[in-house]
């Protein structure tokens, strides 16, 4: 039996989290296939075929999958599921939307957001916002799994030479339809893929003050993130949010500015290699996870930091 990875993509390029998911699939050990379901997405299939460790690309190129809505995508995956012992997708908003639906269609209990593969049926996953790590063993015939990207190093985008097999749409649904999308455009690296992240919290006081972080981000080639408090306060949009229910990041360097360090935020960044905290409250819980803590007013510290970089 083989493992099927569901590719996340925008009909032009593979999303990086797919490469971490393939890495998790490689640990499971059997042959890895990848499903590219989209519209005018041949370039994605070509890209996937070159990815290291993939034996076969299954391409479904049809306008029904342009936005990869959950109903049609889950039905499609179900239609090819009989050949697979494991079906994996990244634990992004895409994977989290589609895979539980598939899991119920297959009458199996999904294993969410794994961080380690111990064997073909045993996995580690964080629970309670990462306060504890559970080891779980699945008895289902097909293991439906979402993968926390930061827990697996991405595979190489070259070196593979998979065959590409085109198949027809199956189970197209009209229960939901796409209306529109507002996708943030930025010249900075994507939050989950950046090697340096600088995030602001409630202490930033306003959205305008985020330019202080942006100046530093541009000097470091970093992405800009935020705590839930800063997003709830309307300083920045939702796609900035790092935390239990936002994005999970694990960069080489994470700089938390004016963030108190609620457990929900720590859940999203505490696996970063080096953590810096800048906060004027010396008792802020963020200092408990920081490698380097600076007790200072961020409005003095940030311009000084920008100058010294």
């Amino acid at each position: 039996m083989s493992t099927l990875v569901i590719a996340e993509h925008d009909n032009t390029n593979l999303k990086p989290a797919t490469l971490n998911t393939v890495a998790a699939a490689n640990v499971i050990g059997s042959e890895v296939h990848i499903l590219v379901a989209g519209s005018s997405c041949q370039s994605v299939a070509d890209e996937a075929a070159a990815v290291e460790g993939i034996e076969k690309v299954i391409l479904v190129d049809d306008s029904a999958y342009e936005n990869q809505l959950a109903e049609s995508t889950a039905n499609l995956i179900k239609s090819i599921s009989a050949d697979y012992s494991h079906i994996l997708a990244p634990a992004t908003t895409f994977g989290k939307n589609v895979l539980p639906r598939l899991s119920a269609l297959l009458d199996v209990q999904q294993i969410s957001e794994i961080t380690e593969v111990l064997s073909e049926d045993t996995f580690k996953r964080p629970i309670y916002a990462g306060s504890c790590i559970a080891t779980v063993k699945s008895s289902d015939a097909i293991k439906v799994i979402t993968v926390r990207a930061t827990a697996f190093d991405p595979v190489n985008t070259s070196g593979g030479s998979a065959s590409v097999e085109s198949i027809s749409p199956d189970g197209v649904s009209d229960l939901s339809s796409f209306v529109n999308e507002e996708i943030a455009q930025s010249d900075r690296p994507e939050l989950t893929a950046a090697s340096i992240v600088i995030s602001g919290g409630r202490g930033m006081q306003s959205g305008d003050n985020f330019h202080l972080l942006e100046t530093i981000a541009d000097k470091l080639g970093a992405a800009v993130g935020a705590s839930r408090a800063a997003v709830d306060a309307g300083f920045v949009p939702n796609d900035y949010q790092v935390g239990q229910t936002g994005k999970i990041v694990a960069p080489d360097l994470y700089i938390a500015v004016g963030i108190s360090g609620a457990i929900q935020h720590l859940a999203g960044m505490k696996d970063s290699k080096v953590i810096v905290a800048i906060n004027k409250d010396e008792d802020a819980p963020i200092f408990q996870v920081a490698d380097y803590g600076l007790v200072a007013d961020l409005f003095n510290a940030l311009p000084e930091l920008a100058e010294q970089l």
Partner: protein, 250 residues
């Protein structure tokens, strides 16, 4: 329009949960319990739809042990009209919970089901999507805005790249994200009134569904601890440490 809102009793979000001494599970002895925060947002949205005249009845449902009645009473105090407890002696996995909820929804035939996108205990983020599959309903997950338009709903969803708006035919499943609304607090008169509202208890065994666990919990442990850090005195010292000690910037 009738709205069903499934909710869950979980450990209060302020509690730091730890493993049991033998690492067999998490330690839930004498821990404060509460309604899952995302479920409060779901109740709030349903009650607002009722207040706006769009909905006629809001039914809170949970699948759990008898003590979950406490959270159903909270839902009633927040504005739900009646409540249903599907009682189970054991803690169930999301698939089994979705199956039980699907039976309740088949019996109630609501036009809309709103539930939290995830419970903050298992962090699974599954039940709503599973329920949608079992009922063959459309799904709109991670909602930050909902508008009902005749026999469909327009839902703005929080996705990794930004926001996406989709249309789902009713009946549909919607799961709530953080910024859909800010839930109200229950007032004392409403808490008193909630005690008199109908709360129906249905045994899960009577539903004829397979609730056998598919997963075995082998152990629960603390995550690897981080090495203790240091405080630096100045921005200059910080930059020096990052360049020369941690070597993460050049």
């Amino acid at each position: 329009m009738k709205i069903v809102v499934p909710i869950k009793r979980v450990v209060d979000y302020n509690v730091k949960v730890r493993p049991l001494g033998d690492q067999s599970d998490v330690d839930l002895n004498n821990v404060k319990m509460a309604m899952n925060p995302f479920c409060e947002i779901a109740i709030e949205e349903a009650v607002r739809l009722k207040e706006a005249g769009t909905a006629t009845e809001v039914i809170a449902v949970t699948v759990g042990k008898s003590d979950s009645q406490e959270q159903l009473r909270t839902a009633l105090a927040l504005g739900a009209d009646r409540a249903i407890l599907v009682e189970s002696d054991s803690l169930l996995e999301p698939l089994a919970i979705a199956k039980a909820l699907s039976k309740v929804i088949e019996a109630e035939s609501p036009q809309l089901v709103i539930l939290g996108k995830q419970a903050i205990d298992g962090d699974n983020n599954q039940t709503g999507q599973m329920l949608a599959a079992l009922l063959n309903y459309g799904q709109a997950t991670f909602a930050s805005e909902i508008s009902i338009d005749g026999d469909s709903a327009s839902v703005t969803r929080e996705i990794d790249g930004g926001l996406q708006t989709i249309k789902v035919s009713l009946p549909a499943i919607i799961t709530t994200d953080l910024r859909l609304n800010e839930p109200r607090y229950a007032s004392l008169p409403n808490i008193m009134k909630a005690k008199k509202k109908e709360l129906d208890v249905q045994p899960i065994d009577a539903m004829g569904i397979d609730t056998a666990p598919r997963m075995e919990l082998l152990s629960v442990e603390l995550p690897a601890a981080r090495q203790e850090g240091i405080k630096v005195e100045s921005v200059e010292e910080l930059v020096g440490k990052l360049k020369n000690e941690a070597k993460v910037i050049s």
